[in-house]
């Protein structure tokens, strides 16, 4: 195989001229290394911010600003949307409180009730109440009541009915304690049915399940508000638009999300500008040095022509050497990057709570390698074509 012979010769030449080869490799690493660090920073910082946004479900929450009338039908339609992960109606907020007490604590705690169901993004780490008698407490409420998982607590609800103050008692089981992030005040996540029952009681409507007396229920129920979480942070803006379009004004964290995404876009643009300039400069410098190399090796290349190497074989000479330079330079650049990344990450560790600032994934390294080798091959092809054009007589008379 002539190709193999050319490879062997090119390799020997590359090793023989190891000083020159090292210079090429260093030159490449000097361009590629900082580019990797830059991208690592961009990816690490923005990636960290996006991770934070994604991890915190409250960023996906969409809250109505004012109360309106939503019926089951509307809620179900919303639930069917692809960009909606979780939706539950809320009862009136003044009716949504309950006074809790426990044997373990000698105080009463008034808590806000939040309707919940399985799949509630705020209760990812605790189980949601499954029956009407189960309850999940916010950490502050749990602390005040000195509660542990599985404890029984009493809830009491008061109303003025037909001019008289009345009170009913409920026995509830604590099935979970929510995350501090989920609800910061005194609160209780409960089954929607329980909230409806308590609202009915306060409105003077009979609740047969608990044998609470009152008038007959109206035929259709409407809710003033709802709890809504989009499937991802990227769906928030779209959902907000859709709700605004049907006259439901909502509050979201879309501006925070938009800010991070805008930053990502801008930084990505800046990065690509730098990367393209860097890549261009690198290809140019590699191309120029390979080009000059062909000149330098004119005589040796024409000796190869003289002993019968064909045009096609000669092209592989600069090509092989360019690929060596590309691969070695890439390796060195990764080494440089790793050193810098470790330094930056340990330096910043105190401020970032251990989160890495400078991060690259294996596929980034692979992509950098592919691009580098391609750039090297392209510039080598040009000088290879030049090398192939060297007639044997061209270089033999070299001074």
């Amino acid at each position: 195989m002539k190709l193999f012979k050319t490879l062997r010769l090119a390799t020997k030449d590359y090793l023989h001229e190891w000083q020159v080869s090292i210079c090429f490799v260093l030159a490449l690493a000097a361009v590629l290394g900082p580019m990797l660090v830059l991208f690592g920073l961009k990816f690490g910082i923005i990636g960290g911010m996006i991770d934070e946004l994604i991890e915190d479900p409250t960023n996906r929450e969409i809250r109505p600003v004012s109360s309106a009338r939503f019926d089951d039908n509307w809620i179900n339609q919303m639930r069917a949307r692809k960009d909606v992960e979780f939706i539950l109606p809320r009862t009136r907020s003044i009716a949504a409180t309950v006074q809790l007490s426990s044997d373990k604590a000698d105080r009463f705690v008034n808590v806000e009730m939040i309707p919940t169901a399985s799949g509630d993004p705020l209760l990812q780490k605790t189980s949601a109440p499954e029956t009407i008698n189960q309850i999940v407490l916010s950490p502050t409420a749990a602390r005040k009541l000195n509660i542990e998982l599985g404890d029984q607590i009493q809830g009491s609800v008061t109303r003025r009915y037909l001019g008289e103050a009345e009170r009913v008692e409920l026995s509830l089981t604590v099935v979970g304690i929510a995350d501090a992030d989920a609800f910061t005040r005194d609160g209780a996540f409960v089954n929607l049915e329980l909230m409806e029952a308590i609202e009915n009681y306060r409105d003077g409507i009979a609740v047969t399940q608990f044998k609470w007396s009152g008038s007959e229920a109206p035929s259709e129920r409407t809710y003033p508000s709802f709890r809504l979480f989009s499937r991802s942070i990227y769906d928030v803006a779209g959902l907000q638009k859709a709700l605004n379009a049907v006259g439901v004004e909502v509050r979201t964290k879309s501006s925070d999300i938009e800010l991070v995404m805008k930053m990502d876009r801008n930084l990505t643009m800046v990065y690509w500008a730098i990367a393209i300039i860097g890549l261009f400069g690198f290809s140019l410098s590699l191309g120029a040095s390979l080009w000059a190399n062909v000149d330098r090796k004119r005589k040796e290349l024409s000796v190869l022509r003289l002993v019968g190497f064909r045009t096609g074989d000669i092209v592989w000479f600069p090509m092989t050497q360019a690929i060596y330079t590309a691969v070695l330079g890439w390796g060195l650049a990764i080494g440089l990057y790793q050193a810098v990344a470790i330094t930056i990450n340990t330096m910043m560790a105190d401020q970032t709570e251990g989160q890495s600032v400078c991060v690259l994934l294996p596929e980034h390294f692979a992509a950098a390698g592919v691009v580098t080798v391609l750039a090297a091959i392209i510039s080598a092809a040009l000088s290879g074509a030049r090398a192939a054009r060297i007639a044997p007589s061209d270089g033999l008379r070299e001074i």
Binding site: K5, R305, V307, P392
Partner: protein
């Protein structure tokens, strides 16, 4: 025309290897022009030809034409027949069609070329340098290289890089490479130009002896006729004329 066929050579001579008619090569640079004109040239198998002349008269140019490495500007007829069993190859047509690879194949098969200045690859050992022409032809490993190296007195340098050799030693390596692939023709462009006259004579004699042993057609360029003459080569006749303003030089070669 002064042809001096050697008596031994006459016996070994076969058919015509090179046949050139009206082959011209023009070279111009900085308003100075040089023209090599070959109205007629025939070289037969087994001949030992010397191209003798002052510096700049066109010796290298002629050898480059004969080795298919310089393209003549004008060719009436240029035929090459290294194997008398085969029909001759039309070199003029190959040049016309820019068949550089075909010319290269022809060269690597049949011609050994020894350059005026070494032309060794600095990154290959002496052995690999000598082997280069054999390698390209995919020839089997045998004792050719060692025999040649022994005969040329460079056996102990075989595993060194050319950079560590003296000029004369390098020149001998170049000769070994020219002969290693057992070509039927060896073209040597002042193979001893860069060594002292005493060594030059010795190396040249060695070279001719090796060529004769192997029944190789030899074409050497040299400016020292004296010791070449002693080796019994046929001198190729040529005449160099210069225009009055000294701007154009023409060498006419016949033989």
């Amino acid at each position: 025309m002064e042809t001096q066929p050697h008596s031994d050579a006459t016996q070994r001579e076969g058919g015509t290897i090179y046949h050139l008619r009206n082959v011209v090569l023009d070279r111009k640079s900085e308003g100075v022009s040089f023209r090599l004109n070959v109205p007629s040239l025939q070289i037969r198998q087994g001949e030992q030809i010397a191209v003798i002349g002052e510096s700049g008269c066109g010796k290298s140019t002629l050898l480059d034409i004969l080795a298919f490495i310089a393209k003549p500007s004008d060719i009436d007829s240029f035929r090459f027949r290294p194997n008398l069993a085969d029909s001759p190859t039309d070199i003029g047509a190959l040049w016309d069609k820019k068949q550089l690879n075909a010319l290269g194949d022809m060269r690597k098969q049949h011609i050994g070329y020894v350059m005026q200045t070494g032309g060794l690859l600095p990154y290959l050992t002496v052995r690999d340098n000598i082997n280069l022409s054999r390698n390209v032809l995919k020839m089997k490993k045998d004792d050719t290289v060692d025999t040649l190296a022994r005969e040329l007195g460079i056996a102990r340098h075989l595993d060194k890089l050319p950079g560590t050799l003296s000029t004369g030693e390098r020149q001998r390596v170049a000769i070994a490479r020219g002969l290693a692939h057992q070509p039927s023709i060896v073209i040597a462009d002042e193979p001893t130009a860069s060594v002292d006259p005493f060594a030059a004579e010795k190396i040249m004699a060695l070279f001719m002896e090796l060529a004769e042993d192997r029944n190789i057609t030899v074409i050497v360029a040299s400016h020292a006729w004296r010791h070449i003459k002693r080796l019994g080569l046929r001198r190729l006749a040529h005449h160099t004329s210069r225009s009055e303003d000294g701007r154009t030089t023409e060498t006419v070669v016949n033989g």
